[in-house]
């Protein structure tokens, strides 16, 4: 979608030297997949694409340029822009070094759903246009294909950008689909929830793809890899896996921008985003705060109120 506009903008930015490099999505040889690319010369800009398979949160790459002087252009979806906001609030990078190319995002396609809905379909059967998604010409209801995190997305339009590509989305998927994949888990009994999570944690191989794909996980040394003291064993046992994911979720409390990049990065497809999303839902309800949406109010865990919920304390 909008490739031609996108490429012109990129070339102009590089030509006028407003930025030193552009971080964006590039095409690949494989069906339904894009990859993060960095562009330093004009001719490289032709590889830029924008389609519903741009699942990586590119804000993750800003940590390479924290201590350099580069001026960086970054393609940001709605959730990515929230991630940039959190990074700015946590003083990881200065706003004036960033040129944010905003993308009005219709949502990302989930590969398993695509495989189930259209088995053996090849990429050229589809057209992913700004007006909608078409399979052999007839429109598809995005609700069938959207990622679970995108189905509950409240901010399809970037909150902060220097230039927006495409018309802003009029409604958010959350409003249109009223679907939240956390709800069925809430209805389960504690034992059923535990069985579900211990089954998922048995699949985990502790490759840390979820942590490394997250723009807000930028610690120099993660507690999971520390040996002095060693908090968790490097063995991928279910208990150590769950301990790693629970502590990482606590570290994301009030910071997670609900982009779902961790879930898309998981090589064994664990719905790992549910943990931080649940915490964000609790924070949205109890402390009326959404990460990366307003730069003035303090992060929830860095402030307090007299009437914070406390009846669970004896």
């Amino acid at each position: 979608m909008f490739e031609s506009i996108l490429i012109d903008i990129a070339k102009k930015l590089l030509r006028d030297k407003t930025v030193d490099l552009i971080i964006g999505y590039g095409s690949t040889h494989y069906p339904f997949r894009t990859e993060p690319i960095v562009i330093k010369q004009e001719d490289q800009a032709d590889a830029l694409v924008w389609n519903p398979f741009c699942g990586n949160n590119l804000a993750r790459y800003l940590k390479y340029y924290k201590n350099t002087q580069h001026k960086i252009a970054l393609m940001v979806k709605g959730c990515d822009s929230r991630a940039v906001q959190v990074l700015l609030k946590e003083d990881q990078i200065k706003r004036d070094r960033l040129y944010l190319i905003g993308l009005s995002c219709p949502g990302l396609v989930n590969h398993e759903k695509l495989q189930k809905q259209f088995p053996q379909a090849s990429p050229d059967d589809f057209q992913w246009k700004e007006t909608g998604w078409f399979f052999h010409g007839e429109q598809i209801d995005p609700g069938l294909l959207l990622e679970e995190t995108c189905l509950r997305c409240r901010y399809p339009n970037p909150l902060e950008y220097d230039q927006l590509i495409g018309e802003p989305q009029t409604t958010s998927p959350y409003q249109t689909y009223q679907k939240d994949y956390l709800d069925p888990i809430d209805d389960l009994s504690p034992e059923e929830r535990w069985d579900r999570w211990s089954k998922e944690m048995t699949k985990c191989i502790r490759c840390y793809a979820c942590r490394n794909s997250c723009p807000l996980c930028y610690c120099q040394e993660c507690f999971a890899e520390s040996t002095q003291p060693q908090w968790v064993s490097p063995a991928a046992t279910p208990s150590d896996n769950f301990l790693f994911h629970l502590v990482r979720t606590m570290h994301m409390a009030g910071r997670c921008v609900e982009c779902g990049a961790c879930e898309r990065a998981c090589p064994v497809s664990i719905p790992i985003a549910q943990l931080p999303l649940k915490v964000e839902a609790i924070i949205r309800e109890q402390f009326q705060f959404e990460a990366g949406t307003d730069q003035e109010s303090a992060a929830p865990l860095l402030t307090y109120r007299e009437n914070d919920p406390g009846d669970f304390i004896k």
Partner: protein
């Protein structure tokens, strides 16, 4: 029912200024409370990293008690306020993950509340005992292939 001879092991993080002093007062005044808790003194309830609680459960603690000063009494002014929010989120997350709610307890005990401290500990032990030995999150290395 769990046979009564089994005694749960409970790790208690007590804040140095209030709860630890409260526990000390309970001891000095010869107040009876179950001997199941192992006390770890921390500077403030706000200084308790969720990692400590998970690590305690991983190493086999059957229950965790975290106790600090009443809101407003904190030696560091707002340590317990931050802690209250963090513990609220932590407890909700743990319950959502399927860990029994009665494994994790929080309380405000001031330095003068020796009596309350023994009551809280008794209440915690009675809450953890029916749950039996902790088996969720406990480290376990049986090979799976």
């Amino acid at each position: 029912m769990i046979e009564s001879s089994w005694e749960p092991k409970i790790v208690a993080f007590l804040c140095h200024w209030c709860s630890y002093a409260g526990a000390d007062l309970a001891g000095v005044s010869r107040m009876q409370y179950p001997p199941n808790i192992r006390v770890i003194r921390v500077p403030c309830s706000g200084a308790i990293n969720p990692l400590y609680i998970f690590k305690a459960l991983r190493e086999g603690a059957d229950g965790v008690l975290v106790s600090g000063c009443h809101p407003g009494d904190c030696h560091y002014i707002s340590g317990n306020y931050y802690a209250r929010r963090k513990f609220y989120i932590l407890k909700e997350l743990l319950v959502w993950a399927g860990i029994e709610a009665d494994r994790i307890h929080f309380s405000w005990v001031s330095a003068s509340e020796g009596q309350k401290f023994s009551e809280v500990v008794t209440e915690v032990v009675n809450a953890v005992k029916p749950l039996g030995p902790s088996r969720k999150l406990v480290k376990e290395f049986s090979t799976n292939v």
